[in-house]
Subunit: 228 residues, 4 copies
């Protein structure tokens, strides 16, 4: 009736893609929590457990890197679905393909955690992990570009807002390509790089949201003291 | 008041089967994410990890086939619950039986992944897997036919819409039967066939939704550029 | 305003215990899906996989019994929260205790699956499993009785409806006690008995809901042809 | 219209942080249910299963302590999000950090369960577990303090209510510090202490809620007979 739509209408609009978000969020939450199962000490670790726990640092690094990556993908996926007016069948199918890569991530994470000490194997594991990360990241961009092209986004979304999210999702791809090649020579550096990309996605989302989200639901708005 | 019901009423209708959908979606999401735990390299893989990762192709094939099958079952289950006006106690019980088979799927998937290299065992594993897939698929059809017979579907649903979903759910059954028999002779072909059935279910749902869903919630409507 | 409350009010009432139901349903869904991880063939099963799959019947029996038990507990828990007007802090605590037992169930299930062939061990495993089932079942009854005593149930709920749910939840306890003792002598019979109790809970819930639920949300109402 | 806001508005307000709560609740529910996978008897336990089950008491203790800790963290997290008017990007990031520690907990729990019998290793395992518990607990306090500082809390929240939750979340930190040191000398006592802290958080939340929550949603209000 007025420019301020009634809350119940906003709620109803939220249901249009709600079933898709619920399933996707479930897969993200499960994949991120399953990562811990990949960490384990060998059965004779009891003699010097302190050393055994310490020598697991590649596992912790791989855990933190994959946790951050899935966390970043969840935030990006959330930003995409937040902008959606509706989903179509192709979007749902592309979304399943994204989830296929995301829920596959615990496997290369386990390989990295296990083989980072072994000279030849670590290069293979890190490269393999990087390829899956690249595929997940690519699918996020494909999903978003498809949503824009198929006019699934909310009509009240300004072009610069659309452009801003596209710009946010793009640079990760070339960074992953560089790291996949580096992984052949400097595997540990590449894993730290994977973590870096994830943190890049997690952290400045704040500035993105500060500029965009206040207009609607304001769920990510940064308050006056929010810079802490 | 008018022919267009207020949004809050639509939301309320959604809650009638909401508790059932939430639990079912949770089981689908967990089962699909647990599949990755079935992939693993042997402990001496470190010497030639590239070869080890490559030789796991049956695991990847089984992973993708089962992921697609659970994804397709989730989409079909979603289409069914979307058409429901309400659920009755028998529907809930049949739904539990469907979830029993769906959450059992990681076990035959693991068998296929593990034994596809071994001549005799692969036939057994693939046939076993096919039987569980057939049972899941049958339960989806049973669930839908029961919902129609017990008048649980929304009264405004046209007969041809009901018929269309029934037709969509039926052909998979005979395809699975054919593949179970083929699995005894050509196991790898049968697994590719399982993947094919799942993709058949996933992909043309779009055309189905294009014709049906626009009338309500329009959550799968294909936009003008949506053919990409 | 009238005797028929507006839908949005019904939705709002649902949110009062919604956060508790969402977490509980999540735990039920995860526990029921994790059960499949307890099934596994030994690593030398490849030579005669058909025999290996067949010899796993105790695993399938334990899987179906535990799946049905968690499914029945989920239905009963759902019936309880459905009747709630609100939850208090003690209810939330008792609910956590119930979830502690429910999410512990995969462990005794694994023991039953593994040791049912071994004469002495099977008695121990089945008795242990029965005790956890008894504790879960007891907690459901305690939860419901507490909700009634602390006046957490909806005020419009008739006394006979409260009594009916109490009667439904009670007989399982003595049945479990009998089966725990039988488990010492006839372990396989006891496991079949566990399955029987679960099915007893799952199946006649229908008649219960037929008589109660139509008044509100009608989410379990049995339609005219619903007896199939 | 009146001072009593319409239900649909209340529902809409709940959606502002709903996506964050749904994901977090999912991670809490999965982490709490995965704990059971850490319990296992050795493969030769069949000869004397009763003894084997009994000798697993450290596993049960670690299971109950970690289950209670995650349960307490979920309740505290819930109390925090309940008080939120909205979330900002930094809050979401801090929340991911909390989830990182919470979903890491199954690993130290497994170590405690496995090594509590071995003199030197048990000290390491318990101290390691205590550090993760301390980090989780610290993050909950950081999350809450940040929410207050960044003015994310509901404006109608009284200062004493804010102070009360801060006071509730603080003492755990020094208790964990004391127990981490004790763990070096008396590991079993420290684990019992971890359980004690968790129960302290779980149990008197009731009094807290009794005094605060009645004003809004009243979801934890203690009824007249609620002291049982």
């Amino acid at each position: 009736m007025s420019t301020e739509e009634p809350p119940s209408q906003r709620a109803a609009r939220g249901f249009r893609t709600g079933w898709l978000e619920a399933f996707s969020d479930g897969v993200f939450a499960i994949a991120i929590t399953l990562l811990v199962l990949d960490i384990g000490v060998s059965s004779d670790a009891g003699r010097d457990l302190l050393h055994a726990i310490g020598s697991l640092w590649p596992s912790y690094l791989a855990y933190v890197a994959s946790f951050s990556t899935i966390g970043a993908a969840w935030l990006a996926h959330n930003a995409i679905t937040e902008y959606l007016e509706r989903a179509d069948a192709a979007f749902v199918r592309l979304n399943l393909l994204l989830l296929l890569f995301v829920s596959f991530l615990p496997f290369p994470t386990r390989l990295v955690a296990e083989y980072i000490h072994q000279d030849q194997a670590e290069r293979v594991a890190v490269t393999f992990c990087g390829i899956i990360l690249l595929l997940s990241s690519t699918m996020l961009l494909v999903l978003w570009r498809y949503a824009v092209r198929a006019r699934l986004v909310r009509p009240d979304l300004a072009d610069e807002e659309i452009e801003l999210l596209t710009q946010r999702l793009t640079p990760g791809l070339s960074a992953y390509l560089v790291l996949i090649v580096s992984g052949l020579f400097l595997p540990v550096i590449a894993v730290i790089g994977f973590l870096g990309i994830a943190l890049y996605y997690i952290i400045p989302f704040r500035r993105l949201s500060a500029s965009i989200l206040p207009r609607r639901r304001r769920r990510d708005r940064v308050g006056p003291q929010g810079r802490g």
